[in-house]
């Protein structure tokens, strides 16, 4: 799903990078990720422990950085916001947040959940941008 999103954004001319950090005890399964996407897959290690000590995150968490390298949003998989990419709502939220990070324009209308603040600024009641949101029929099952 992330690869699908990446290709969609590239087609729309939205300049974004995608990167996955594979869990440190899933080293043997890195190819399961690399076979399903074409973007960078960094392998966490016992020594670095990027998941735990650097990112303070858990499996399937998303982090969205703006171009200057600062964190716009942390979307925890277990948080109040739906970030399940197999659902239209989750897919649209992540994609819209990424578009916002790239362009500064909020392109979705998804509840914030109250856990984060917008570094880029989100206009109240922002209208849905059809070019940045897919139809539910376009969203297929399958993670990562």
């Amino acid at each position: 799903m992330l690869e699908k999103m990446r290709l969609e954004l590239a087609k729309q001319g939205v300049p974004v990078h995608f990167v996955a950090i594979n869990k440190r005890d899933a080293t043997a399964y890195a190819t399961a990720l690399t076979n399903r996407c074409s973007f960078a897959v960094l392998q966490d290690t016992d020594g670095v422990q990027a998941w735990d000590i650097q990112m303070f995150g858990h499996k399937d968490d998303f982090y969205i950085y703006v171009p200057d390298g600062t964190l716009l949003d942390h979307l925890p998989a277990s948080g109040p916001r739906n970030t399940n990419l197999s659902t239209a709502e989750g897919y649209q939220l992540v994609k819209a947040r990424l578009v916002q990070a790239a362009t500064g324009v909020w392109a979705g209308d998804v509840p914030d959940g109250g856990s984060t603040a917008d570094a880029a600024g989100r206009p109240d009641g922002g209208a849905m941008d059809a070019s940045a949101v897919d139809s539910a029929a376009d969203v297929t099952a399958g993670g990562g």
């Binding site: 990167v19 950090i21 670095v48």
Partner: protein, 130 residues
């Protein structure tokens, strides 16, 4: 009335090999042009950066990254318990370096961190390959 007799066939040099050669050259040229166009398009789609001639995805790390080791390495015996427990919005991406396992990535086998992605909005996903 008898039809006029056919004129004697002139001896014409056989140009068939030359014609075929020209056709083959033309077809090869057309094929190469089509491949070049296709490759250019696919690299643009793959990288998402228009006008790029590279055929890999994502930013290219510094040359030193290709001989670097993952770090910083935490010594569990001496590491203090981090006081920070959650990512902070507006904070710069943490500084660490890990090795890229993606053969399609421009940083394949290089060891680098999130700073390499600065300049574009970036989505970082914590995934487990199993």
């Amino acid at each position: 009335m008898h039809p006029a007799p056919c004129p004697a066939r002139r001896s014409v040099p056989d140009r068939t090999p030359v014609v075929w050669s020209l056709w083959v050259v033309a077809l090869v040229a057309v094929g190469l042009a089509a491949c070049a166009d296709s490759a250019s398009t696919s690299s643009t789609d793959a990288s998402g950066s228009q006008g790029s001639a590279k055929s890999c995805v994502g930013p290219t790390p510094l040359a030193a990254a290709f001989s670097a080791k993952p770090g910083p390495v935490i010594d569990p015996a001496t590491a203090a318990t981090p006081t920070q427990q959650a990512p902070v919005l507006g904070q710069k991406a943490p500084q660490f370096a890990l090795t890229d396992q993606q053969p399609l990535s421009c940083g394949y086998k290089a060891t680098y961190g999130l700073q390499t992605f600065a300049g574009k909005a970036t989505l970082v996903a914590l995934l487990a390959g199993w």
